[in-house]
Symmetry: C2
């Protein structure tokens, strides 16, 4: 099977988006942007042995590759539209490719994002997706808008993916729900879009709450105080924390793909409605302060956020 057959077989399907003039199969893809909008673009790579283990299914790898990029676009308050896929494969494994392709196509359909181009090469398994979204001019939700007095919020529960990873690393068997949180994260697509009118800054929690919130604080030139007791935690992880008195997992565990954001006081009332309309829990965990740095109340033990190197 040559590269072109492979692309035709596994990575070409009809594009329904009329703004795409040319998809997979030329030197480059072509698309239009509605007037009054800006392009938002992000790229994320998943590498075997780093972002997923050799035993992770092709279905989950495809899901996560797309989800982490959808999450970045959501964290900008933007609507995801298109993506390119650069995949390096050690060999042609048709059943693996079929499972990967089916999963990618299914999730693409669900979020209405179109695969418009890519590259397939031989090499150690590496999946790089570059995603494009659109947002109205000046409406993007960046990391730089947090102001003293804004509430600090997170969506969903924090630390589940990290807890699952901790269990796997310690020879324990995670529940299916915990495995799903690690391998099949749900990007907060609707919430991100809705937040662009309420939040002052936003980031997705991919490297750990402490580290990611600190990015907002540094970029916005502010500080914050959060309380560990207020962080929304699943029951199982809460049990583990009570046993060990260690909050490292929710503070430093990555891969949650929840949103962490700040909201001005006068918009906090409106925020409550978003939680219902987007069907996701939102929890206030602290407040933005003028004095720099992140102060964490309730835990001062050692902790270390995820480092890539």
């Amino acid at each position: 099977m040559n590269e072109f057959d492979l692309i035709r077989e596994y990575f070409t399907w009809p594009i329904k988006d009329p703004s795409v003039t040319l998809g997979v199969g030329d030197d480059a893809a072509l698309f239009s942007l509605e007037q009054g909008y800006q392009l938002v673009t992000t790229t994320d790579t998943l590498v075997e042995g780093v972002h997923f283990s050799a035993s992770t299914s092709a279905k989950d790898i495809a899901h996560k590759s797309l989800a982490v990029n959808l999450s970045d676009i959501a964290a900008m308050g933007a609507k995801a539209k298109y993506y390119t896929l650069a995949i390096a494969l050690p060999k042609i494994d048709k059943s693996w490719l079929q499972e990967f392709s089916d999963s990618l196509r299914q999730l693409s359909g669900h979020y209405q994002v179109s695969l418009i181009g890519g590259d397939t090469t031989r090499g150690a398994l590496n999946i790089t997706i570059t995603m494009f979204g659109m947002v109205k001019n000046s409406k993007a939700l960046t990391r730089s808008g947090a102001r003293p007095g804004d509430g600090v919020y997170v969506s969903g529960t924090i630390g589940d993916a990290g807890f699952c990873f901790w269990k796997l690393s310690n020879g324990l068997i995670p529940s299916n729900q915990e495995l799903k949180r690690l391998n099949c994260p749900t990007p907060r697509v609707e919430l991100g879009l809705a937040l662009k009118n309420q939040a002052s800054a936003c980031i997705d929690v991919s490297d750990g709450l402490e580290q990611d919130l600190s990015h907002i604080l540094k970029t916005s030139s502010v500080g914050a105080v959060i309380e560990v007791e207020k962080i929304p935690i699943s029951e199982a992880l809460l049990g583990h924390i009570k046993d060990t008195n260690d909050w490292s997992i929710p503070l430093c565990g990555g891969d949650d793909y929840e949103l962490c954001f700040t909201v001005p006081e006068d918009k906090e009332e409106a925020l409550k409605k978003l939680s219902e309309s987007c069907n996701v829990n939102i929890t206030r965990i602290g407040v933005v302060t003028e004095s720099l740095g992140l102060q964490i109340k309730g835990f001062d033990g050692p902790r270390k956020s995820y480092q890539h190197f």
Copy 2:
């Protein structure tokens, strides 16, 4: 050195393009598109051991990573504007990174393309660049516009990169000029932009002339006749062909990054001027025909284009 220090140190430099609202350092980058233009996007991966050898310099790897993407955008008749870089590195090697960064920045400056985002991960060396260009609505140069009677053209000389690769594979020492053609290809940026008003179809020669021209023919539902004697070949390669009576290298050697394009008869006169203004040789090697398939006059020996798998 953590990921964020690495990005700050090696992959962040001032962006001069006013259409970029937000560059490296948020969840995603933000840019605007001038009215009346479409976005053109392409992605290309370079993997160690496949696209370059372990002995290739960081300078050349950076150059080639950018050049192959610039070449794809040029082949669309579009102006390259921005790119994202996803790089997987086996380890932090500061001198390697500095050399890679310097080379990338230098070439980016030369072609006025801005690095607006990316991802750095740990893994087998893999460089994936996704590039964005712009082209006036309906002006993109695709593979589908070739018509019977159009001339078939190529830029520069064909087969030099393949000849260099052949020499290396056979224990021979290529000249510096030959190594440059393989490791530091010159994307035909100016020519691609100029061709959008003259050519009916265009592709860049990355997988071999025979294979790449065939893509144009299939997509345009036409055929072509070309003559090997007309293909522009460097003197050294011509000597090799005379010795071996084998035209495989210019027909099937990849990595030339010259443009192959078709031009309607009434525009062939205007084309000659382009050659001068873009300072690149352009050679007519055949003609588009109604009968399908690619007919190659002057050589009917066995040949095999590059296959990725």
